[in-house]
Symmetry: C2
Subunit: 304 residues, 2 copies
């Protein structure tokens, strides 16, 4: 299987603590890096995770609250000091470019590269990134301000050649790529060898969904169907349900019921309120509903 | 002696590393806290140092480079989440309010307290803060943009009462404060007891000077005369002298010669370039000129 990993750089909520940094994550798909949210000190956590700045070209910002984007200025500034030349693409709800540009002009007036802002509509699911192995789509969420989660879907790869059968039928090399793409093979004698005899199916595609910040919203489960890993915010324990509703956040139990409803393979909870000295209660409440739940933690790297 | 301490929150330079945070320090004078510079993640380091946010009312920004002020937004935002009501005063060169205000309006539109900006002229020494135990004055520095260091001077305290002599002369309690302030005592019999027989001198005043960022500039030594502790930037080793001049920074040796010329009691060097994997070379070069030199380090607390 190709590399598809999630790095947790920060999983606290608005109020930082000595235990948690503000929100930021990195997806590593085949050594291309994608950052999701960029809270204060994300660049420091990125370095600590021993990730390579040069592999990061796209940043996805869920919403314009400070704990999800105050790290952008430092990161952009550092890239320039390092002499970056590749464009940096920042995808976010409307408003980020207008508010960030004056700061960039003032503090980073001599940027060595271009920052390209892409602003998306938070009301509907939109394909916002695509390359030959990945698509990223928005997941409309309900928070106090416009907000989206992100669905990272691998594209179906090539079928796997059965080396023995290729040798047996003496398939010439220039035919291999077609066969990997699912075509049958016609021998020089005019015999059609069905693709299924020459190949094994491609690896199943994998999906990662990021949902933060959001009030409990079962409407998103359809889009999350069968994801391999779901990150869902779990700011509060069930005892703070009223507070969760009031602030448009979720409880750990609610996160778990989204995972269950979506038939996700694994759930990782995060965006913890500063009031919790550890995450035992949150994990316990989520696991009761959805057993395959893990707790986010700075420095954690999970294979998807 | 009353408490007068320096906490190092960050002592790296523009490029953060896994070893150093961007510049920020806190002075603790009798449990009043004063922040000097506020690089990214200063609020996190502040918490780690177990300092109390409620004791911090004044922040002094040396100059408007990102590594000295990108932490302000997060700090201001956190204070509001914590329900702060006391005004927060930010002293800086001209321009900070104009550039920060739109961000504050956007991200912290409902601040629970007032942020008051005070902008100073960086060309001449100015008294920018005063209370009954402390003055803070600017130290004009030479950097690529307008920049000042800061001189923290204790005010002379009260003289110490000699308890035995007070008892001997049967001095009434209501006279004590006058005597602490240096007045003589007139007994009911009309005998004048000189203050020197009733008291010991007040503790000597202490001074702390912060000089960063700056090119080597011996003109500042007069203002630094006899300081108890001098923080001077030492971005580079002597081998990078040309680079230091070009970027308006100092070498460790230059920092030490400022300390020596000023007859400072102790020197602490910081603002280390990311190129150094440790500070041995910098310490060695500084110590040759000024033996009582120490190296700044995140988490370090030094009594002044």
């Amino acid at each position: 299987m190709e590399k598809f990993e999630l790095h947790i750089l920060g999983c606290g909520s608005a109020l930082p603590t000595t235990r948690h940094f503000a929100t930021s994550q990195v997806i590593n798909l085949r050594d291309k890096l994608f950052m999701i949210d960029c809270g204060e000190a994300a660049q420091l956590q990125f370095r600590k995770a021993q990730l390579k700045f040069s592999r990061l070209n796209h940043i996805f910002i869920s919403h314009l609250h400070g704990d999800h984007c105050f790290g952008l200025l430092g990161l952009i500034s550092t890239f320039s000091l390092l002499g970056r030349t590749a464009e940096l693409h920042i995808h976010s709800p409307k408003g980020l470019e207008a508010i960030l540009s004056p700061m960039l002009k003032f503090f980073c007036y001599n940027l060595s590269y271009k920052v390209v802002f892409h602003e998306f509509n938070t009301k509907k699911t939109t394909l916002i990134y695509e390359d030959r192995s990945l698509t990223v789509s928005t997941i409309p969420l309900q928070h106090r301000i416009p907000c989206c989660g992100f669905l990272f879907s691998e594209k179906l790869g090539l079928r796997h050649i059965l080396r023995d059968m290729i040798d047996f039928y003496e398939v010439p090399i220039y035919e291999i790529n077609k066969i990997k793409n699912g075509f049958d093979y016609l021998t020089p004698d005019g015999v059609l060898i069905p693709n299924s005899r020459l190949t094994m199916p491609a690896d199943p595609i994998r999906k990662y969904a990021y949902c933060s910040d959001t009030i409990f919203n079962p409407e998103i489960t359809e889009q999350l169907s069968e994801v391999n890993l779901l990150f869902h915010e779990a700011t509060f324990a069930q005892s703070e349900l009223a507070r969760a509703r009031e602030t448009f956040h979720s409880t750990a139990e609610q996160a778990a019921s989204i995972a269950k409803e979506a038939n996700a393979k694994q759930l990782i909870i995060g965006h913890f309120s500063a009031r919790y000295e550890n995450e035992e209660q949150l994990l316990s409440e989520a696991s009761t509903i959805f057993p395959n739940t893990i707790v986010a933690k700075e420095g954690l790297c999970i294979k998807i």
